[in-house]
Symmetry: C2
Subunit: 456 residues, 2 copies
C-alpha cells in the first residue's frame, strides 16, 4: 500500500490547541438556559455556586466568548496522553472495497479508555484552583469515574464516586482502577446520604440507577464543606473542554490537505459528539464550509430521532435543573437488554439546538449491527472499540459502502471515542450469539413524553 | 515546565525500523544451541520443521546474519500500532525531586496491551506465507494469546489457544477478547489432546499449569495437518522480532540528542528485555558505547539472580527442547501468592549468555515494592502499568532516587512493556492491603537445581 498520508497522524506538541472553542458564540439561536427546578427561572451564577466550581459556572453560562484559553497546567496534563492520533483506516477501506477515504480520531489511548479525561482534568483543575478539598460524581459503566479519579489523583484532590450498585458489583475491575487512583467508590444507593437511605428503605433490594447515583453525588457535594459536584457530559462546559478533539482533527486535516465530506460521532449525552463536531459546525455557522454531520445513537435510546425538543429534567430523580433538549422523558430507561452505553434519556442543550436548526442529521442503529461493526473493526484495524464508539463505526461503514455503490471518493471522519477493554461482558453476549435488539414502542415513548414538565 | 524534548516522542513512519537486529551476530560467545530432548544433540532445521514454521526456524538457528529485512506486510501491520512513543516522565522526575532524566518506552498502546504483538504478527505472517491453516499456542495470563489472536485474525489464520484453566475461569475478559478476534480458546487440561486426557484422568480436579498447556498446544500442532506451534518468549526468533523496541528507542535518542546512561527492563522469558536492550548491547559488543543495563525480575522467580547457568528443559512437562540458560529448574513454580507475571523458570538463551558474559546486571524486587511503584506511576504519569512492567518502574525509581542522593543527572530509559487493565485482581489485592511477599528459600531452589538434566 502506497500513500503520502501516514497511517497515524500525531500532531507535534506545538500544534496542539491552546484554547477551547465555544460554539455558542457562533450560534444565531443560543441554547435555551437551564432552569431552576423550583422557580422555573433561568439559573444564575449564584444558583450554581453551591453545586459547581466558579470558573466552570462561568463557562457554563457564557454564550458569547468564542475562545477560552486552556490553563498551562491543563495543557501539561494533556501532553501526557494527547495528541490523540487521527488514523487512516487503510485496512478497513481495503476490506470494504470502498473508494471512500476513512479516518478516525482515536481518543482511547489513556487509562480511562476514552475522551472523558479531556473534561475531567479541566474540572479537577478548576476545583483545585478554587481551593476545594474534593469533588463528587456518579458513574454508571465507569469511564467517567475512572477519568475523574485519574485527574483528581494528579491534582491531589479527594474524589468520591457514587457507582450504580449493579455496575459496582458486575464491574469490579473498573472499581479497582478508580481505587488505584485513590478514589473513594461507593455503591449507590448507599447509607452515606439521606436520599440513599430513603431509597434503600423504600426498595431494600435495589441495584441502583444512574438517577439515584446523581442525587447521592449532588447531596454529598452540597453537604460537605469544600466539595462540589462534577459531571462528564450534557453540560455546556463539558462540550467546551471536549472541543480539543475536533480542533486537533481540524489541524491534522489542514496539515495534510484532508477535506472531510462526512463527520460521524456517537451520541449519548453529547460529550464526544459535541467535542468532535463543534469546530466543524462552527465553520458551517460562519458560512466557511459545508459538511454532512451525522449523530449516531442506539435504537434502544433514540433521543434525537424519536424524542421531543422540550424542557425536561436532567435526572430521573427530578431534582436537577431543567434543560431544553431532545428527550425521551426523564423516566425513560432503555431496555435492560441494551449493552452499549449511550443510555441518557436526554441530550446536550447545545447539540439539541443545533440539531433542531438543521446543522446535522441523526440516525439510530440496533445493537447487534453495532457489535458486528465493532468485531469487524477490531479484526481489521486492530483496536477493540468501546460499544459506544462502535455506533459511529457502524455508520462510517454504512457510508463507506454507499460510496462503493455510487463510486464516490468521499472522505469520512469518525470519532473512535474509546476502547472496550472493560466491556467484555457485552462482547461475550455477542460472541455467544445471545445478543438481540430491543427498540421501544411508539406507545412507550409517547407515554413517557406525556409527562414532560409544563414550562412556558 | 519548559523543555525542548516533547513529553512523547513519536517517530515518523519513515523513521521506523525496516530490519530486525540479530544480536547473536555480534556476540563473541554464541548462545548454546537448543538440544533434542531425546538425543541431546543440537536441534536442526529438520528437527524443528514439524513444530515451527520454516522461516522462523531459519531465524532461530541463524547466529550470523546481523540484520533481517522485515517483510512489507509486517511493516504495514506495525504501522497500525507503532511507533510506540518514547515518553519523558517529567511529572515523575518532579515528584521524585531527582536530577535524573527519566524516559520510558511505552509498548501498551494496542489492544493486546503489550509488546507481545511485535512477534505475534511476525509469526502469524510467516505461518500464512508458508500456506499453513493455523497455529496453536498456550497462554497463562493471556497477553500472548491476545496478541496472537489479533495477528491471526488479521492474516485470516486459525488460532487455537490453550489457556491454563484457572486463568480461563478467573480471566473471562481476556478469553472474550481472544474470542472476539476469532480465536478458539480451550481451557487446559482439556479432552482435545492425549496429554490433556492423561492429566485429567490422573488429576481430575486440576486447574492446569503453563507446562501442561504447552504440551497440549505442541501436540495439537503436530497432530493437525497444516498447523504449527508458536511461542511468545524465550526463543531467539522472538527476541529478534522484539528488537523493534530498542531500535525505535535508538532512533528517538539520536533524533533528540538523548544519551542514555542506564537502561532498565523487566525479565520473564526475555522477550521484552531482549527487544529493548539488544541494540544497545550490540553497541557495547562492537565497542561503540557503554551503558549500565539492568534486568529486573521478581524475587519470587529469580532465575538470573539465584538460578544456575545450565542446560534445562524449557517446560515443566520435560518434552520440549533443552536450552542452556539461567534456570531455577524446570519443576520450579513461583508461589501462588505471586501476582505479577514473569513466572517462567528459565530465561532466553541469548540473554543468559550475555548475562553470563557480564554485559548487564540483574536484580530482583519484591512484589509489594513493585505494586507501590506501579500505583505511584499510575497516579503521577497517568498510565496504569502491567505488573510485569512495574518491575522496571521500581528499578527506575530506585536509580532516580540514587541520583537525587548523589546529585548526578543521569539519563534513565526503561521499558514500559504493557498496561495492567486485565490485571485488576492483583491490584485489588494491593489496594486491599492483603498482598505480601514470598521468596523461595535457598533449600527450595537448591532442591530444584539438584534435578537438572545431565548434559555434557
Amino acid at each position: 500500500m502506497e500513500q503520502k498520508i501516514p497511517y497515524k497522524i500525531y500532531l507535534n506538541e506545538n500544534e496542539l490547541p491552546k484554547q477551547w472553542y465555544n460554539v455558542r458564540a457562533d450560534m444565531k439561536v443560543k441554547p435555551a438556559p437551564l432552569l431552576n427546578p423550583g422557580t422555573l427561572q433561568p439559573l444564575t451564577q449564584e444558583d450554581l455556586a453551591p453545586i459547581f466550581c466558579e470558573e466552570l459556572n462561568r463557562q457554563e453560562l457564557d454564550n458569547d466568548t468564542r475562545w477560552f484559553d486552556i490553563p498551562q497546567e491543563i495543557l501539561d496534563f494533556y501532553k501526557m496522553y494527547r495528541p490523540a492520533p487521527l488514523v487512516r483506516a487503510y485496512f478497513l477501506e481495503k476490506a470494504l472495497g470502498t473508494p471512500a477515504k476513512i479516518y478516525y480520531k482515536f481518543e482511547g489511548n489513556n487509562t480511562s479508555g476514552s475522551h472523558k479525561l479531556n473534561s475531567a482534568v479541566a474540572q479537577a483543575y478548576y476545583a483545585k484552583k478554587q481551593g476545594l478539598k474534593g469533588v463528587t460524581t456518579e458513574t454508571g459503566a465507569g469511564q467517567w469515574g475512572t477519568a475523574l479519579s485519574m485527574a483528581c489523583s494528579f491534582f491531589d484532590l479527594d474524589c468520591q464516586v457514587y457507582m450504580v450498585k449493579c455496575s459496582y458489583e458486575q464491574k469490579p475491575f473498573r472499581r479497582e482502577v478508580m481505587r488505584t487512583y485513590g478514589a473513594k467508590v461507593t455503591p449507590s444507593p448507599s447509607n452515606t446520604t439521606n436520599v440513599g437511605r430513603q431509597i434503600l428503605e423504600k426498595f431494600p433490594g435495589t441495584t441502583g440507577s444512574l438517577g439515584c447515583a446523581i442525587s447521592e453525588a449532588v447531596e454529598a457535594a452540597v453537604s460537605q464543606p469544600g466539595y462540589r459536584y462534577v459531571l462528564g457530559s450534557v453540560l455546556n462546559q463539558v462540550l467546551l473542554h471536549q472541543t480539543v478533539i475536533g480542533l486537533e482533527v481540524q489541524t491534522a486535516c489542514k496539515k495534510y490537505g484532508i477535506k472531510p465530506d462526512i463527520i460521524i460521532g456517537c451520541a449519548g449525552g453529547g460529550s464526544n459528539l459535541g467535542g468532535l463536531i463543534s469546530p466543524f459546525i462552527g465553520e458551517m455557522l460562519r458560512g466557511e464550509a459545508q459538511y454532512k454531520v451525522i449523530a449516531v445513537e442506539p435504537a434502544s435510546c433514540p433521543s434525537f430521532t424519536r424524542g421531543k425538543f422540550a424542557y425536561d429534567f436532567a435526572d430521573t430523580g427530578m431534582i436537577c435543573p431543567l434543560a431544553k433538549m431532545y428527550t425521551l422523558g426523564s423516566q425513560f430507561i432503555p431496555s435492560a437488554n441494551h449493552a452499549g452505553g449511550l443510555r441518557f434519556h436526554g441530550m446536550s442543550p447545545i447539540l439539541s439546538q443545533l440539531y433542531h436548526d438543521g446543522l446535522f442529521e441523526a440516525r439510530s442503529v440496533e445493537q447487534t449491527a453495532v457489535f458486528e461493526a465493532a468485531q469487524m473493526f477490531a479484526r481489521i484495524e486492530g483496536t477493540l472499540p468501546a460499544p459506544e464508539s462502535s455506533h459511529a463505526i457502524r455508520a462510517a461503514i454504512d457510508e463507506a459502502l454507499k460510496c462503493k455503490e455510487t463510486g464516490e471518493e468521499k472522505t469520512i471522519v469518525f470519532g473512535l471515542s474509546g476502547t472496550g477493554y472493560f466491556d467484555m461482558v457485552a462482547y461475550q453476549k455477542f460472541n455467544d450469539g445471545v445478543m438481540n435488539d430491543t427498540i421501544p414502542t411508539d406507545e412507550e415513548i409517547a407515554a413517557n413524553l406525556a409527562n414532560l414538565p409544563k414550562v412556558e
